[in-house]
Point group: C2
Chain length 393, copies 2
């Protein structure tokens, strides 16, 4: 009754362009090895470690007990939208009207809605290569064209106003930035972001800024594009700084005159975000929870400060200091010409899981790997020792 050959032709053309997360193959194999008794140091997945903040857990439990597990409005519960407006005021000194803040089912939901509201078939979206894997696939899902612009150490792995100008075409609608960046951990220079905004605005495009890793910077303070622009789309998340990955909650800030479109698309695509997660997220913004997040932030800093020089010592080239997120994007070309094979070998023979560059684009992907460092320092030390033995074998 099944017709595999016919069904395979029946899937949409877009599926040929949508990649799996290659890191999942690494993690799946890592789990198999662990199940077989091997010890694995896992620096592959971009997920905070350790427990969730108590106020978040307690608020989640209270929400369940109170039966706050129903549909909410498509843009989220008013209390959380107001609390996020308060967050912009207290954290950045920026006034953002509550009406422009849309709670979404993860920054994933925010990215999908942003692309759905902005991108028509054939429209081009400029983004850095390397960047977060799903970005180009959100664009492809709505039949836009992701234009992945090769960036390197010279621009801190970020787009520049000059690059945006040079890649602009009549079909360009959107420019996406991420600061701090996944996978590189680098920040964009604030004045450069302003200059990019000027270029985009002058051409009638829209700037989308991924601020998902805000809160996790180790030098310069976070500054949001909302400081200078109210015509940008801002993507943010409760997953990283707030550590709430598995609750699936994020938010979008959009221009006032796009909010009706944001709301109707979100209603149709998601109905609403998890009510339970929204109540837990309210607690994530309280001073008690923020004190916890800041402690974890300092732990990440210490982990970064430990790992960065050691990776350089054992042969990885890291030309740009990662100043944010919890990633180190390392050039491994002195060690291998095939970073994917290297990741698999390192996993099999050294018991260390890291992410291959291919997940993040194609530009020099085979020369790069990504380390995710939210791990206790002794675990990182063990990982480095194993890598060193593998490299010098």
């Amino acid at each position: 009754m099944n017709h595999p050959e016919r069904l395979q032709r029946r899937v949409s053309a877009r599926m040929a362009d949508i990649d799996t997360f290659h890191v999942v193959a690494v993690v799946t194999r890592a789990k198999e090895l662990e199940a077989a008794g091997r010890s694995i140091v896992n620096m592959a997945i971009g997920e905070p470690d350790g427990p969730i903040a108590d106020p978040i857990a307690e608020a989640g439990i209270r929400a369940i007990r109170a039966g706050l597990v129903r549909y909410t409005g498509g843009l989220g519960i008013p209390e959380l939208r107001r609390a996020l407006a308060g967050w912009y005021q207290s954290r950045y000194g920026v006034a953002v009207p509550t009406s422009r803040i849309a709670v979404m089912p993860g920054s994933s939901g925010a990215l999908l809605v942003a692309m759905g509201v902005l991108v028509d078939p054939g429209d081009e979206v400029l983004m850095a290569d390397p960047s977060y894997p799903a970005n180009r696939h959100f664009v492809r899902t709505v039949n836009g064209r992701a234009v992945c612009i090769p960036v390197g150490a010279d621009s801190g792995y970020q787009l520049t106003a000059d690059l945006v100008e040079r890649h602009w075409s009549p079909r360009t609608r959107v420019v996406m930035l991420a600061t701090p960046s996944n996978p590189t951990g680098t920040l964009i220079d604030f004045d450069e972001m302003r200059a990019i905004h000027e270029v985009v605005r002058a051409r009638g495009g829209v700037l989308v800024v991924d601020e998902i890793y805000h809160g996790l910077t180790y030098g310069r303070p976070d500054r949001t594009a909302l400081e200078f622009a109210d015509d940008v789309f801002i993507i943010n998340s409760f997953s990283k700084y707030f550590g709430m990955t598995g609750w699936r909650l994020g938010w979008l800030v959009a221009p006032e005159d796009c909010m009706h479109d944001v709301e109707k698309l979100a209603q149709n695509l998601f109905i609403s975000s998890s009510e339970l997660a929204q109540h837990a997220a309210l607690a994530a913004l309280t001073p008690e929870a923020v004190a916890f997040h800041e402690q974890r932030h300092e732990a990440y800093r210490a982990q970064r400060d430990f790992l960065l020089p050691r990776l350089r010592e054992i042969g990885f080239d890291i030309p740009v200091e990662p100043e944010g997120a919890f990633y180190i994007y390392a050039n491994c070309s002195k060690l291998t010409q095939d970073s994917y094979g290297f990741c698999m070998d390192v996993l099999e023979h050294a018991g260390v899981a890291i992410a291959p560059g291919i997940d993040f684009g194609t530009h020099r992907a085979a020369e790069h790997v990504r380390f995710s460092y939210p791990k206790p320092i002794p675990v990182l030390a063990e990982g480095v020792a194993r890598l060193e033995r593998f490299i010098k074998r």
Copy 2:
């Protein structure tokens, strides 16, 4: 700095075709009236009433305490996928391999992934008019074309094999059915569904069946399309029978050879479903929870049996007995020629909230309204009394 006139032109063309949920305007106004001290009988929103089953709540609390609030695999935790395979075996006597079951962030997520995997720009998706509002918008989001086929009482508001044949075009890729249907509460005849499957299969298309309201039928037992086909996409949800709306969890069953595409699209669009909700859902499938769901199911039956004759008595025409879900789709053409205005008037003057037909399509939408009846019978009685006074005023 803001350029509203320019931004309005900058949103994607699809946004002109994506409607808001009109019921939200009803509910928003209902809340305003309630805030001003008015009593409102709310039969507008399609949401189970009453508390969540204890085993679900307790499992959710245990998951939070255990820190099970992380990313999971893109297709869900293996335990839940296995438990759903067990559900198909015990509930329907149908063997569905775990590998074909994908846990999704709501049936919303399942519908989006199904459309993304199947529909290219310009491809046509046949569906009944009236049907669930978001269905046509999922299709539009991926730039397909929803072909909404007028159906009426004669076919139980369901598509038929004949209708599918007559509307088939070279661009048709997908036929969507929903049984029980939202908004009509009607079931498709099982043999007719088989016949539709034959038509679709013979033409190289794919049948997608929304079984979201399975478990909530009041005459004929549920039968899944998986009984006779392994080349269909099945959409289901923990929101309705299991009462877990605000946890945002559902699932998709897809043909084996599409699962790689389902997984990679889901990874990119959502990363994963809520881990917390997945552990709660495991408890929703236990005998203790199912006993609770069955009690609620019987309460819905009593509510339906109460409401249906009374609506007919006061002037609504309900030519097809609703045998499932928790909706009554009523023709109000003896009372009004404008069901949206009628809903707003009934809300303002009688304090009763119901959903206008326009949410579900365009075919005779102005002659229909939808009642959602999961309410205690005294509340339904008060609603009917208010409606009767309004109608006879």
